[in-house]
Amino acid sequence: MMPAQVAAPDGVLLILALMLPSIGLLAIFVLGHSRPERIALPVLAANLAVALIVALQVGHSGQAATYRLGGWLPPLGITLRADGLSAALIAMAALILFVVAIYARGNFASKAGGSESRQPMVFWTLLLGLSTALNTVFLAQDLFSLFVALELLTFSAVPLVCLEGSRETLRAALRYLLFALAGSVLYLIGVALLYGAYGTLDIASLHQVTRADRATSIALGLMIAGLMAKAALFPLHLWLPPAHAGAPAPASAVLSALVVKAPFFLILRLWFDVAPQPQPVIAGTMLAALGAASILVCSVLALRQARLKLMVAYSTVAQVGYLFLVFPLVMGSEAAVPWASIGWTGGVLQLVSHAFAKASMFLAAGLIAEAMGHDRIDDLGGAAEAVPISIAAFALAGLSLMGLPPAGGFVAKVMLLTAAVVSANWWIAATILAGGLLAAGYVFRVIGRAFADPAGGAPPPKAVARSRELAVLSLAGVALLLGFLPLQPFAYLGIGQGGMP
């Protein structure tokens, strides 16, 4: 099997998306440099450029970009593929990682001339590790490569949680690792069963051949269960709040905004691209019910948190819950293909807008904690004066979580709501509305406290760098801009879906 076609330039970019961050992390590791951010920032900038070019090319050509590793055709070889959805998501991930990196210079910039120190070295290498992992998750077309990508994600994310090294963060990291490993191994069993049933792991090939039989259902059931643990879907969410709240702010931002989205993205791929259609209604309803439980339970828990970062972390579980509402909504829609339905589009938009909003929120929470010296919500009085831009960003991002106009979360939630009403899933509609109200409760609680007078005897707030505040605001701004998208399925996200070229 000689290479059957000449490598298209856009295809090579997919390789760069995987390899650039890997090379960057190896370089930081081997150079033992005292200033690792000097390698990481340019690499992440290049990664952003690559992702944007891929996204533009996909939009321009109206076709998915593909690359066959080593020229080997599936099912023997592995294919990378950027369809509209993947291209949008790698661009999203690259942008958030880049902005977080700019912000993180304030946390993990090392002094000139010093020797290598632990936290900067670990943070910057693992941030690049996350970049490789996310790009692989979004681009790989092979179920086993996706397993390796999930492991890349786990190995990059877990040490970030306990970067600080306190007992509690170590414990949170360990619990995260155990959940992630259990999830991986369930996924792996599913991969083995699918290979045994079909003799291929290529998603496009599987799409053609999957049957609705016992082996396939058990395989997909195990894989989805494993991914649910990684995506922190209720009741497998226990690991997430302490892990995301214990990590340093830039790490929390990436974990909440991007890392939990990767397993959800894979569930989406399994559900729409691998599983035999149509899916059993009961399975979709069960996922949505767990999503609804996540929204309600964790929103209430978020309301009751005393610490800002824990509140934001619980809000992540709730907001990820929205994503799982998609499955019955798509089944109930009359659109010919899932990606032409507003339920599917609303879910994707929720994924993207939550990513920007939550990244902004965690970074803002980090700045607020730096300025005030603590993150107790009740004692945040005076924060609005001390870090006005961060509070503004927090509020703007909060709009997205609540689903108020003009935020991106508004469009997403309205689309989900409409889909729920159209398909007569009234309980889903009610959950979406209740989740919005609860989110309003926990966001306004913070904003309200921030505008209160400072408590007597509190130490004066410390100043934080304006550039970092602007980075936070820019992410909230993107979340807001997404709100100006029209309320309809986007042709872009449909590019290359469903095994089409």
């Binding site: 066959r68 003799g199 082996a215």
Partner: protein, 311 residues
């Protein structure tokens, strides 16, 4: 008659597995798990997956066992064994696990006919990479991306383990692996075995191109020899700041990535090899990887730095 071997083997494995989970003492559980690993390598042999059998023997019997035993030695005085949950939870856990096992067993009992396989496709193309061992062809050619990314996983694992170093010790050496009790037998073993082991390790890597064996198997054997020398106090765990050490860790992945990009220029695709030079390139990449794997596995077992760097 050969089925008799299989039946006995399965019975022993199930016994070791139940023992691993149910035995009270932590260290006994680890030992039972090591026994299970060795038995599994016999299973892989019965399944004619010799490459996997070698890997399982090296990792299950060697590396994983050592990591877990070290942990036991350090945990025993500190951590209580922990209390098992109440009977309700136990029954629920048992039921859930039994359902999962029953479902999987049902899948096993109804295999598709004919059984799907990529063996024919792998055989058809193997001449293009000039290798005799189809498993190596999969690892280094057909599915080389997985192998490459797995090496990145290993480097990340090293960083993750090192990340657990207390700040004051950053750059220093991992805690000594040496046995608390000096022993002439251990000393002798650690002097005589490594030369054997290094020969076997290199043989496995070299042999892997055409016969069962390969980078990972060879690398693990090399790592085991290094660890043996560390345990006998013939070698010290290296300081993690050492540039030389880090170059060794990165060497294999770097060569692999470089070969990948070279492929774009030589034959059009990332990680493709020009047919005439495929075998030498692959063997070179394998040798580099084996070296890095040996160092990485040793470092993963040695753990985070436990003393400040020496001046």
């Amino acid at each position: 008659m050969s089925l008799l071997v299989d039946l006995v083997l399965v019975a022993l494995i199930l016994m070791a597995a139940v023992w691993t989970v149910l035995v009270r003492d932590r260290r006994d559980a680890v030992i039972a798990f090591i026994v299970l690993g060795l038995l599994l390598s016999l299973v892989w042999m019965r399944l004619y997956a010799v490459d996997v059998a070698l890997t399982e023997a090296a990792v299950g019997g060697g590396a994983t066992g050592l990591v877990l035993l070290r942990a036991c030695a350090r945990l025993l005085p500190v951590e209580a064994e922990g209390r098992l949950p109440g009977p309700g939870t136990q029954i629920a856990a048992g039921l859930l696990s039994a359902i999962a096992a029953a479902g999987l067993a049902a899948v096993v009992l109804s295999p598709p006919v004919p059984y799907p396989s990529l063996a024919a496709l792998a055989a058809e193309n193997i001449h293009q990479v000039g290798l005799g061992n189809p498993v190596t062809a999969v690892l280094l050619a057909y599915r080389s991306l997985d192998t490459l990314l797995e090496k990145v996983v290993l480097v990340l694992a090293v960083i993750g383990v090192w990340a657990l170093t207390p700040d004051a010790f950053w750059g220093g050496a991992p805690g000594s692996l040496k046995s608390k009790h000096a022993s002439g037998a251990l000393d002798l073993l650690a002097r005589v075995l490594p030369p054997f082991g290094i020969v076997v390790g290199i043989y496995l890597v070299w042999n892997g191109a055409d016969h069962p064996g390969g980078t990972f198997q060879g690398g693990t054997v090399l790592a085991a020899m290094w660890l043996l020398m560390m345990m006998a106090d013939l070698a010290d765990p290296p300081e993690i700041r050492l540039k030389r050490l880090r170059r060794l860790v990165v060497f294999g992945p770097a060569v692999f990535i470089a070969a990948g990009f070279a492929g774009i220029f030589m034959s059009g695709w990332f990680l493709s090899y020009p047919p005439d030079y495929a075998k030498p390139i692959i063997v070179a990449v394998e040798a580099a990887l084996a070296l890095s794997i040996a160092v990485i596995l040793g470092l993963l077992v040695a753990g985070p730095a436990a003393e400040p760097p020496k001046r």
